[in-house]
């Protein structure tokens, strides 16, 4: 049916539901259907990585997935990473290392980096650069972002020991 249907899924550990047309992208559904505007929409055709979220543990471009495809999935967005009082080590590291300037790419960068550091805890420089090659930043440049991810990797490994 081309008419809206209810999409039920778990977002950041919470069961959520909202109506979506089959053609609604997951990115638009998160922002407009669920009010989670932390996921940014840049190019809307799979180039910039700003809309990166985790679906069932894997990073995806939410602009290249339909909301109806996420039915029954577990989605993690930037809102689930941490708040001002309980920041994720990656968020702290981006703050400390000046890993952001305008902040538009930051949610996508962070979600890409979360997947990397959770799947490859000891990720090195090359792995970090390869992972964030999927995300465009137009102001900070990549050096401080790489340094931030590296600092977070070290911190997360320290915590894990």
């Amino acid at each position: 049916m081309t008419t809206p249907r209810t999409v039920e899924l778990v977002v950041n550990g919470e069961r959520r539901a909202a109506d979506a047309e089959p053609r609604t992208l997951l990115s638009d559904f998160l922002r407009e259907g669920l009010g989670l505007t932390g996921t940014h929409v840049g190019c809307e055709h799979g180039v910039c990585g700003a809309c990166t979220v985790l679906v069932d543990g894997q990073s995806v471009r939410s602009c290249l997935m339909l909301a109806v495809q996420a039915e029954g999935s577990e989605v993690r967005t930037i809102e689930g990473l941490g708040g001002a009082d309980d920041m994720h080590p990656l968020q702290e590291a981006f703050w400390e290392k000046h890993g952001l300037q305008c902040g538009f790419c930051t949610p996508g960068m962070l979600m890409t980096a979360v997947e990397l550091l959770e799947s490859t805890p000891g990720a090195g420089m090359d792995e970090i650069r390869e992972a964030i090659s999927s995300n465009l930043c137009r102001c900070t440049g990549y050096q401080t972002i790489v340094e931030a991810v590296q600092a977070a990797a070290e911190r997360m490994q320290g915590e894990g020991q």
Binding site: L25, S59, V60, L66, T112
Partner: protein, 266 residues
């Protein structure tokens, strides 16, 4: 995006029935190419039949004759597969060179070869390794599968189920990728099996092709030096803002040598 009716069948039979019953239905695999083209309204369909909920279409199996990869197997799974890395490391390298991590997490081998983008990587893997494509009605040899720009031998409603790769003695993958998109400007898969050589090029023409002259030279002497002096004509090669035809012709020679060196690397 133009509106469409969405289906999420749980079986291949159900998917076929829904495609057959639709006016202008299309199967949806990983969606990494189809969704953006639909979003740009470059393509549209009456019905989108999502293959992601069908059990048994994804997976990698090692058997006596080689490796079978299910159509819905993600690039990331092929890249990480111990079986593929052991038997055909060049194929794992190819999968790992596709797009970026988000694309590899969603994109599938079946989707890639059915879409048949002229700059996609998997077509060179299929043709260069002499794979066969199994559909819901027959098996299609690599040499017959890719027929033109975004064109394949598939009939209306025919669905790819898996791809069978024979295990070569040696194979090598070399890619000159666009730095932004990671699509192949030119990429080459070469393989050596039972004295026969296959060398397939993607990114350079409307669709993937073999280079018989290079194959013959390599069959006599499987070394990068054997390719010295064998030029590929620039007539008919792709031209775009990334590379003109003459540059692509040059790159075919360079990538072919690199692929052979990769195949010979310990």
């Amino acid at each position: 995006m133009y509106p469409f009716t969405y289906h999420r069948p749980a079986s291949l039979d159900d998917a076929r029935a829904r495609l057959a019953a639709s006016e202008d239905g299309r199967p949806l695999a990983g969606g990494m190419s189809l969704i953006p083209t639909m979003r740009f309204r470059l393509s549209s369909c009456s019905d989108l039949v999502d293959l992601n909920a069908i059990d048994g279409l994804a997976g990698i199996e090692r058997h006596e004759g080689g490796i079978r990869i299910g159509a819905m197997t993600r690039h990331a799974a092929v890249e990480a597969s111990a079986e593929v890395r052991e038997a055909i490391p060049a194929l794992a390298a190819l999968a790992g060179s596709i797009g970026d991590v988000q694309v590899r997490n969603r994109g599938t081998i079946g989707g890639s070869i059915c879409f048949a983008d002229p700059a996609a990587d998997y077509p060179a893997g299929i043709l260069g390794l002499g794979a066969s494509v199994n559909t819901d009605r027959r098996s299609i040899a690599a040499d017959d599968f890719f027929t033109g720009l975004y064109e394949t031998a598939l009939e209306d409603g025919e669905l790819v189920v898996s791809v069978d790769f024979p295990v070569p003695e040696r194979a090598g993958w070399a890619k000159f990728g666009n730095q932004a998109s990671r699509f192949a400007v030119v990429a080459v898969m070469v393989s050596l099996a039972g004295g026969a050589v296959r060398l397939a090029v993607t990114g350079a023409k409307s669709h993937v092709f073999r280079v018989p002259e290079m194959e013959a030279a390599l069959a006599a002497d499987f070394s990068a030096e054997a390719l010295e002096g064998i030029a590929v004509a620039s007539e008919g090669l792709n031209e775009d803002l990334h590379a003109d035809a003459a540059y692509r012709a040059h790159l075919v020679g360079v990538m072919a040598k690199r692929a052979v060196r990769a195949a010979l690397a310990p």
